[in-house]
Symmetry: C2
Subunit: 113 residues, 2 copies
């Protein structure tokens, strides 16, 4: 998955960030991993009620390819897969939390219209 470096002028690095976090459910997955440190596939699926199994697997794969999350597989029975943020992924914390705060205010405003 070819990633771009957006730095042709001031402001462009924001696009570099957007390319990593954009994509249905990705930012919600990142939010949960920030809160819970480690998540099993099953627990993510239970929490992202409107997200299909296939979509969840796809977005986790992309985040893994971008080295934002890492996947740990336990061979013992029952078979278990865990996901957690990489060091680079953890540096997204200010971005995701700022977006969560803004989004909550936006939601309140929209509901009061």
């Amino acid at each position: 998955m070819k990633r771009q470096v957006f730095d042709c002028q001031p402001g462009c690095p924001v696009e570099s960030t957007l390319q990593i976090i954009s994509g249905k459910w990705k930012s919600v997955i990142l939010y949960h991993l920030l809160q819970e440190k480690v998540c099993h596939f099953g627990s993510l699926q239970r929490q992202l009620v409107n997200c299909s199994r296939r979509m969840l697997a796809l977005q986790l794969k992309k985040l893994e390819q971008d080295q934002i999350i890492e996947k740990i597989t336990y061979q013992d029975q029952p078979f278990k897969t865990e996901y957690r943020l990489t060091l680079q992924g953890q540096t997204l914390k200010p971005v995701i939390l700022a977006m969560a705060v803004w989004g909550e205010k936006y939601n309140r405003l929209q509901k009061n219209k």
Copy 2:
């Protein structure tokens, strides 16, 4: 332009924010408006060198519809149009700046690979 309220569960408000700032060049436009307070269409166009006139006009229109920016038109000659952030648009500052900081680090990492 129908906007959604994403609040079915924790983390969803991040998606509410993404729907507003996602879209080619939007976050770069917001970055410039945060830095320069007021921008003419022409100055934005000069600064966003790889952005077509049509794309710039489209993204400005969407930001205006979302009440993130406002457009001021001066009838005197020569005809002049200015853009600035609304109060709600200004509250995006922590989000855009956090994304710019993260994007700059990401760009440096990618170039050193």
